[in-house]
Symmetry: C2
Subunit: 147 residues, 2 copies
Amino acid sequence: MAKPSKENSPITEHLAYLLAQANREINRQLELRLSKEGVPVEQWRILKVLSDGNGHSMGELADAVLLNHPTLTKMIDRMVSDTLVYRVQDPNDRRKVLMFISDRGKVLCKRLNSLAVDQEEHILESYGDKSTSELKRLLESLIDSSN
Amino acid sequence: MAKPSKENSPITEHLAYLLAQANREINRQLELRLSKEGVPVEQWRILKVLSDGNGHSMGELADAVLLNHPTLTKMIDRMVSDTLVYRVQDPNDRRKVLMFISDRGKVLCKRLNSLAVDQEEHILESYGDKSTSELKRLLESLIDSSN
DNA sequence: TTGAAAATATTGAATATTCAACAATTGAAG
DNA sequence: CTTCAATTGTTGAATATTCAATATTTTCAA
């Protein structure tokens, strides 16, 4: 009898693939809802992080919203044009720029939040309460163990 | 006492965000290993799907490797140039193109597989056997419930 | 059988992302 | 203090992705 070898396992059994697939699907759904406001998922993340009212540096933001620095810079440029956020030079370290959410940004963020909550509730319904919280727990722990 | 509202929950508690974060991290690690062979993750997926030796149409492939059709077409163009795969017109439906893996592709795929297995083993070590299989199970079930 | 609609893959233009180089500021060693 | 390395953010060119339009073939209803 042939020895089962991991190297022949179909791609659908790889953790990396399952994560990519699940991420793609859930992201697609979220994208669809946020498109009602014409806002990409990344901009919602940015608004959400900034909605604590504090200033966040570009580096900090890039980490938080999972974007590379140059990509973030260009997306922030657009959001500044749309007056959703604004830049302030950090007085304590003039290399840094602190990003703040505007009033208009706050209003938009609220609408986006409820679209996102809609989705989470839809997931809870079709996938179940228990599975969802267990999956979240496992994902957090995977992320932890990768640092 | 204020009612806890989902709309104020930090972004790090959203399933969509946790998936994106975990996916980004695991993908980054895999990318790093595959870069030893100078191959992007998507090309490995393509080779792996084709390595069953059967012909796969572009549409089928695009679904399997999580790429849009035009993106896949252009990536396949490159892989054809590198003689890793080749196109054959489907004799039963001439709208379709059947993709096949070449011998060179097979050889490369084997090397890539062992790099990927390295990673899976690294995850098993740091994250644990039990967590990994439980996470896979939950992800599969989430994907199922989204269709 | 014919003609319209659907399915499949590709193309080119418009967008977006990434990489490498740069500019400005700070930190820290000598 | 001065200088050199590290940090932070942006820019421009190179790449990659996406959207809409196209070409081809098949399907199916009339």
